[in-house]
């Protein structure tokens, strides 16, 4: 009997420990680049000198992370997760859970720094949450929305519906659908250039067709303005003072374009890369299959350095 009680206590203790698992604390003033590794559900934190300094191994099937305006609160979400988990980087532990239900595949902090757009694929809608995780508005969009992008000028949210052939544009003031325009299916990856009235959309291609092009639509009307060759499967865009970068995972190619949409550089980089970001004037690409990040010179797109991270880096999280 006594033995049984001891065992029960031990189990309770262990479970308790698990609930308040503490990870390496991340100083508030430390700039970092973190990879969201979805194969082993971990986060690898890398400092400004590209040295990994922390590894958070999280026992939840999360597929993405979002850093809030305080630069310390981090949200972890995943399609199979019932709750969005809220972590404090400086405390190195989970501090809250937001009950959202399953289906969250993407989260974006809006420009006001308080509202969050959460993309829910289970009911094909966008949830607008406040910074306490409370649902403010829900807007129905097309099938399987995935990518969202906020336009500052017209205060709009562009929703790329991955499983549909349309892009839904939401008026953020009224939280109503402004308009929709047709796009190619299995689209993902966007770049909004409001001053040029352009929205760039990439994709994987439909069925057995492998996407070779990226599409430029009018941001205000949805009119297809241009198609650019970027074989194969362009899924990530990045614009900086140096130019526009296009990442195609099918051929692990990185293209650098100038203002005239001309290809100025082209490199094979990474192994099946899905993610790209600009960090400290460098361009960083995450190789999903090689579990590495590739640090490239923004000008020449030559790989300067590679850093080994957790398994399956799928997203990059920056704090500068």
């Amino acid at each position: 009997m006594k033995w049984g009680i001891n065992l029960l206590l031990a189990v309770l203790l262990l479970t308790g420990c698990n609930g308040s698992h503490t990870y390496t604390k991340i100083n508030k003033d430390e700039a970092f680049l973190a990879t969201v590794n979805i194969k082993d559900t971990s986060l690898t934190f890398i400092d400004e000198n590209y040295h990994p300094f922390a590894d958070w191994d999280i026992a939840e099937p999360f597929t993405g992370a979002l850093l809030l305006a305080d630069k310390d609160t981090m949200l972890l979400y995943g399609k199979e997760m019932e709750n969005v988990q809220v972590y404090s980087l400086s405390a190195g532990k989970r501090i809250r859970s937001w009950k959202t239900g399953k289906g969250i595949v993407n989260m974006q902090l809006l420009h006001d720094g308080k509202s969050i757009a959460a993309v829910n694929q289970s009911d094909h809608s966008i949830y607008f949450l406040n910074d306490q995780g409370e649902k403010q508005d829900v807007v129905k969009v097309g099938r399987s929305p995935l990518t969202v992008l906020q336009g500052g000028k017209a205060n709009r949210l562009y929703v790329i519906n991955f499983g549909d052939t349309k892009c839904t544009v939401i008026n953020l003031t009224s939280k109503k659908v402004d308009f929709e325009f047709p796009i190619h299916s299995s689209s993902t990856g966007t770049l909004l250039r409001e001053e040029k009235d352009e929205i760039w959309i990439g994709g994987h291609g439909d069925g057995d067709r492998v996407e070779e092009d990226l599409y430029i639509y009018s941001a205000s009307t949805g009119q297809l303005k241009k198609k650019l060759k970027a074989p194969t499967m362009p899924i990530k865009f990045l614009e900086s003072g140096e130019g526009i970068y296009v990442l195609s995972h099918g051929t692990s190619s990185l293209y650098k374009l100038n203002e005239q949409y001309e290809e100025v550089e082209r490199k094979v980089v990474g192994v099946n890369p899905f993610e790209m970001a600009s960090f400290k004037k460098d361009v960083v690409v995450a190789g999903y299959d090689s579990d590495e990040i590739y640090v490239m010179d923004a000008k020449t797109i030559d790989v300067k350095q590679t850093v080994k991270v957790g398994e399956g880096p799928f997203q990059l999280l920056l704090r500068e």
Binding site: F162, S186, H204, D208, M233, G250, V268, N272, D289, S290
Partner: protein, 469 residues
């Protein structure tokens, strides 16, 4: 009905049929095992080898058309289907995005290939709409990119169909085989068990007193031997029963004769047939003699019954045999003298027996009585005692009338007489020698009688002795 389930036939039948069914099942599983483990595994190994050989030609970088053409050429000449795939879509490169497309390889397989391992598959492939055995090897460039794969497969539908057809035919054959096996087994078991049933019936008949029954021994196996043993047993019982009957007849006969004398003479006296006192005395002497005779027969019978029944009342003591014989012989001196016989003896003083004095004396009496009785006046009796290692030999020989050769084997049987006329005057009860034999055997000894008609008889007895301390 219940008997039927408990019968030996049913049990044997069940055992044999179970064994057959188990063997059949075992054979079937074995064939399946061989198909799976030998054929399919070999196929997989061959496919992996084949794909690996082709893959060895891949030199890195983007997969060239030249390489694809080479593989295509090989495919056209080859038995198995071989092709190169480099579409990232087919290679599940778009995971973790949920593309609505059935890719050629799964996420796990992609991971295996990325790790440089070959993938082996077996089963139904939706893409080809058939059952296949396949091997996939990765084409990985220097920077660990999965540029493509070599996919090779062999449809096994034909083999599966063949196996199914085989299984169906096999099942039919098994069914037929089982029916025949059940039929033959039943018949054979019936044949096998029928002698046992015959023995059972015969045993019942024997228990009811029918000893004439003889089973036909058809085989030389255990059952045949059992039947033979049964026959022997029935014969023995029959013989014993006959002997018992004969013995009782003999007893009755032996008792009846003296009783008739007693009865006759008594009546004669009582009826006053006797003429004078002398005659009456003669009659009374005859009655007395017959009464003595009756007493002796009854005494002998009792001894015999005791020896037979192992209830022999005995008190064993060490006996100095030579002295013992001399003492017995001294009692015979008057009779021998009267009958004018020569008695010679040569007795080794060594033998010491451990036996019952009364019984030993009876043995000697019975033999010497016979010797005296059947030796004519002027004849001689010789007695000899010799000690051997652990036993002594006593031989008593006479020059009497001897025993005919034909009678010799039966001389020690109860009531057996050489003189079938059963003269009351020359014979005893007919039990003497059988009693001697029983008593010698009871003392762990043995007896032998040698005889020649008109020359003489020699009785030899061997008895175990004890060593002098």
């Amino acid at each position: 009905m219940n008997d039927k389930w408990q019968s030996l036939t049913f049990k044997l039948w069940l055992t044999i049929i179970t064994a057959i069914i188990l063997s059949v099942l075992f054979a079937y599983s074995l064939s399946q095992y061989y198909y799976k483990n030998l054929y399919v595994e070999k196929l997989k190994t061959d496919l992996v080898n084949e794909a690996s050989l082709l893959g060895a030609d891949y030199t890195g970088g983007e997969i060239s058309d030249d390489f694809k053409e080479k593989v295509e050429w090989f495919n056209s000449k080859n038995e198995s289907e071989v092709f190169v795939v480099n579409s990232p879509r087919e290679l599940s490169a778009c995971l973790p995005f949920e593309i609505n497309y059935d890719t050629l390889i799964s996420e796990e397989e992609r991971q295996m290939l990325l790790d440089g391992r070959a993938v082996e598959k077996e089963g139904y492939e939706k893409r080809f709409g058939k059952n296949i055995v396949a091997a996939i090897i990765p084409l990985i460039d220097d920077e660990d990119r999965l540029e493509g794969i070599i996919y090779t497969y062999i449809p096994v539908d034909s083999i599966t169909d063949l196996l199914k057809e085989f299984a169906a035919k096999w099942l039919l054959a098994i069914l037929l085989f089982l029916i025949i096996a059940i039929f033959l087994t039943t018949k054979w078991l019936k044949k096998l068990v029928s002698p046992i049933k015959e023995i059972e019936t015969a045993a019942h008949r024997v228990s009811e007193g029918d000893y004439d029954i003889q089973l036909q021994v058809k085989s030389h196996d255990e059952i045949g031997k059992l039947a033979q043993a049964f026959n022997d047993m029935a014969n023995s019982i029959h013989l014993e029963e006959g002997r018992k009957k004969e013995f009782l007849e003999n007893v009755a006969h032996e008792l009846r004769t003296p009783l008739s004398y007693v009865k006759g003479y008594t009546h004669a006296i009582l009826d006053g047939v006797v003429k004078n006192e002398e005659e009456e005395r003669k009659y009374l002497q005859l009655i007395s003699r017959e009464a003595l005779r009756l007493q002796r027969i009854v005494g002998d019978l009792m001894d015999l019954s005791k020896v037979d029944g192992d209830s022999f009342d005995s008190s064993k003591t060490p006996i100095a045999f030579a002295q013992f014989i001399e003492d017995v012989l001294s009692k015979y001196e008057p009779i021998i003298k009267a009958k004018q016989l020569n008695l010679a003896y040569e007795l080794d003083p060594d033998p010491i027996l451990y036996g019952d004095e009364g019984r030993m004396e009876q043995i000697l009496h019975n033999i010497i009585d016979n010797a005296v009785q059947y030796t004519n006046p002027g004849g001689s009796i010789q007695i000899r005692l010799v000690q051997y290692n652990e036993e002594c030999e006593l031989s008593i020989s006479d020059t009497g009338i001897g025993i005919p050769k034909a009678d010799l084997p039966y001389i020690m049987n109860r009531f057996y007489r050489v003189n079938k006329a059963r003269s009351r005057f020359d014979g005893g009860s007919g039990l003497g020698l059988s009693i001697v034999k029983k008593m010698v055997e009871w003392q762990q000894g043995r007896i032998e009688i040698q005889s020649k008609e008109k020359i003489g008889t020699k009785v030899k007895i061997w008895l175990p002795t004890i060593k002098e301390e």
